[in-house]
């Protein structure tokens, strides 16, 4: 599990108010990916951004249903933006 994936799952568990193990089991049962509510996606995204200390990681154009409503797409977005952020700094 990558650093971003670990943080993302921790934050999603907090936002869903469930234990991390319970969430991981649900992800496994669902075949490795789960759907997110769009507001949940926004909340998890900003919480990961804070945890990574990368203000502004999520851009205005990133806020589409496609990016925010599955765990895998949100993770791909954050990984991609983090790589860009690290290159710029």
């Amino acid at each position: 599990m990558t650093n971003v994936e670990q943080i993302l799952i921790e934050q999603l568990a907090y936002v869903r108010a469930i234990e991390q193990l319970e969430l991981e089991a649900a992800i496994t049962e669902a075949g490795g990916d789960i759907e997110l509510d769009s507001k949940e996606g926004q909340t998890v995204a900003i919480r990961v951004e804070i945890a990574l200390d990368m203000d502004g990681l999520i851009r205005p154009e990133d806020q589409t249903r496609e990016n925010l409503t599955t765990l895998s797409s949100l993770m791909a977005l954050i990984e991609s933006r983090r790589a860009e952020h690290e290159e710029e700094n």
Binding site: D37, K39, E40, A45, R59, Q63, T64, R65
Partner: protein, 286 residues
């Protein structure tokens, strides 16, 4: 002339309102819709409306489709509320929603939501005097937290009082404001939902919401769903039961501009989901 629609749930209310408007010119003034908040609607109807929205590519300014759940989320973010947290449930909701708004506000347009107006109403600074109301540093006020707490305390006080035991009804109320004078100055722009009134009577909390303009294809069903969820939240947090939801559209629009034939078909398909007998009859007439 005003109209009153009383229905068994949100889905039936929406359909009846649409049928009423389509029997006229597609619009209404002072359209008053009432239904019990604790009655389950017909989820399949949301799918039918979403299908129409997708087919006609009706989108927010940010490019996202105006789906029923998306509209409902602007009034109450159901996914962020977890009643099993007990005393912490509301504060967790407020904390996470405030964080989500930091991302939401980065959009070029659509920087505000109805639920945010309930949690961060722009009062300004220095206006509250010696009031018990406490503003945030940015001059906003969490009016929802204030009224939930006030209603809960009032309800608990009445539970202890002899008047409550004698069964005397003590209506208590709260006013949640969405429209902000001086800030919301653009015609035809946010917010269409102006005001929400809450009334607690005999351990049931009732809600009345006023829209200055309500579009029925792109908003109303999601509005009903979001308001129902907001009322359920308020009832849970005050220890009461959800009562009746009344939604007054001072101007209602069936949005026939999207295609009157397609909209009539949408409503007919919705009716067939809720009341198959009626649909069969309609099909037979055709």
């Amino acid at each position: 002339m005003a109209d009153l629609i009383q229905a068994g749930n949100a889905s039936e209310a929406w359909l009846a309102a649409m049928e009423l408007m389509l029997s006229r010119d597609g619009k209404a003034v002072n359209l008053n819709v009432v239904f019990p908040a604790d009655a389950d609607g017909h989820e399949a109807l949301n799918g039918v409306v979403d299908g129409f929205i997708a087919e006609h590519d009706v989108r927010y300014q940010d490019g996202n489709l105006l789906l029923v759940e998306t509209v409902a989320n602007t009034i109450f973010p159901q996914a962020l509320y977890h009643p099993h947290l007990g005393d912490q449930a509301a504060s967790r909701l407020y904390e996470n929603y405030a964080l989500s708004m930091r991302v939401h506000r980065r959009r070029k347009n659509d920087k505000e939501t109805y639920f945010n107006r309930l949690l961060a109403y722009p009062v300004g600074t220095g206006a509250m005097g010696e009031s018990e109301v406490k503003l945030e540093k940015d001059g906003t006020w969490n009016q929802l937290a204030y009224y939930v707490e006030r209603l809960r305390k009032q309800r608990e006080t009445l539970h202890r009082s002899s008047s409550y035991e004698l069964g005397i009804s003590h209506p208590m109320d709260a006013e949640l404001r969405v429209q902000a004078p001086f800030k919301d100055k653009r015609m035809g722009s946010f917010p269409c939902l102006s005001h929400i009134s809450l009334t607690l009577v005999d351990d049931r909390v009732h809600m009345s919401a006023v829209y200055r303009n309500q579009t029925f294809i792109t908003r109303a069903l999601g509005n009903y769903l979001g308001l129902t969820r907001l009322l359920e939240f308020i009832a849970t947090e005050t220890g009461a039961a959800p009562g009746e939801l009344q939604v007054l559209a001072t101007h209602a629009d069936a949005e026939t501009g999207l295609g009157v034939v397609a909209i009539r078909d949408l409503v007919k398909r919705g009716r067939s989901l809720i009341d198959p007998g009626t649909a069969q009859e309609a099909a037979h007439v055709q």
